[in-house]
Subunit: 139 residues, 4 copies
């Protein structure tokens, strides 16, 4: 399979999931063998008091990063859904875009297991959350 690019992923998502076309706050930032990066574009209207990036937004970023990662294993056409996701919040998240990098722990024939580290763009040394999760093919 020719290597997928972030462009391939972003185009696919916008075409296949119409609601996503309205939610350009999330995009695939990077992609490669065994990893994928989701970016949440900072949006003041979505913040919690104190400028905090909410738990659900961080969850969505980790979930998307794992979904993008599943594309590198199963291809774009495969229908895969989240089986479970466990997110741990480490530090308050504020001040910029959120990046979530998923790394493959194991790829089986029908499921992948990965872990995700998330941080504010520009401050990779202070991750704001960490997650582990699995995606499985639906059919």
């Amino acid at each position: 399979m020719k290597a997928l690019t972030p462009r391939d992923v972003n185009d696919f998502v916008v075409q296949t999931y119409p609601a996503a076309a309205h939610d350009l706050r999330f995009t695939c930032d990077e992609l490669g063998a065994g990893f994928a990066v989701a970016r949440w574009h900072h949006d003041a209207a979505s913040l919690r008091p104190g400028g905090l990036i909410s738990g659900p937004i961080q969850f969505a970023a980790a979930d998307l990063a794992l979904w993008y990662l599943s594309f590198t294993v199963f291809g774009l056409a495969a229908m895969a859904l989240t089986t479970d996701l466990h997110i741990v919040f480490l530090r308050p998240a504020r001040g910029g875009d959120l990046l979530a990098r998923a790394e493959l722990l194991r790829a089986g024939k029908r499921r992948i297991s990965g872990r995700v580290l998330a941080w504010i763009d520009g401050d990779p040394g202070n991750p704001v959350s960490h997650a582990t999760g699995t995606y499985a093919l639906t059919t």
Copy 2:
């Protein structure tokens, strides 16, 4: 402390978290000693293809149910944040409002641990997701 009602919670959230005033899709449905129920009001525009209620929406419902539960332990004024949340998706979720019922596992002086079962209103025998999570006071 006089027992909190869902009305108390909903009024408090709308006043304190302005962004929430726009997001009336989530409300506190029930509240009592050791439990709290969050309701996501069905909204077709938010669905995934196939009419599925997304993972992030189910995460947000579980997270809110735990937050409401923290009010019953620490009161409305306490600033508590999610420490971690682990959600397992059991069945496809579609077709109506989503209810998420949080149940207290343990209340400490500064943190609570709970578990949450979620189902589609009208179909409680087929939970769509289960979560466990903790909330901790921030100061």
Copy 3:
């Protein structure tokens, strides 16, 4: 399938897993549709200082309860292994046998998802740990 009894399970485990014959500290206490109970028989030599029942023992009890639960779904002969297990420690555990009751969240064709509450025999109102986990058929 004629309903399995705890006796069926205990006999099967001792015959099939020789090492288990030496570890009579764990037995199946109860079994039924959608649930299973593992018992750890109190053993002073295994305790941590202060008479505490260790994390690994509580993990093993939860893991066994889910394994027994998998028998009620797939039968005794099915080879199933733990995919993941998440255990949260709620209260110090000491003073008696440990009981761990697994409850089915969902049974698929090849995997089950369950949750487990554990307590000291005689004190069910103060659970010492809670776990969620999955078992999957290996072939």
Copy 4:
């Protein structure tokens, strides 16, 4: 604080936790700023059929690695206990010693959060399990 060595940790554990003196199958292998490695010395009598290293042994290794890690943050004398641990089993584990390397995600004043990768000694490219967990001071 002068940097702790694995020797310091192993001596401390044997002196403080008498039961551990009989369980020399687990030792601290390495220790440094932000990481710690636990080793389970291969013991045929503990294996499951097929020579598999059991889930509870892998859990114990991850739990110990996090405990050793807590020493690097809080010192040897601090009494810290596991709050929660989530372990995901990735591949069958067999054939040699098990190594579990804990890495610090965040150190607070009273708790640490870490993640642990485990593999069979000599085969680090094929991790057998991954865990995330927290330790908290008890007083």
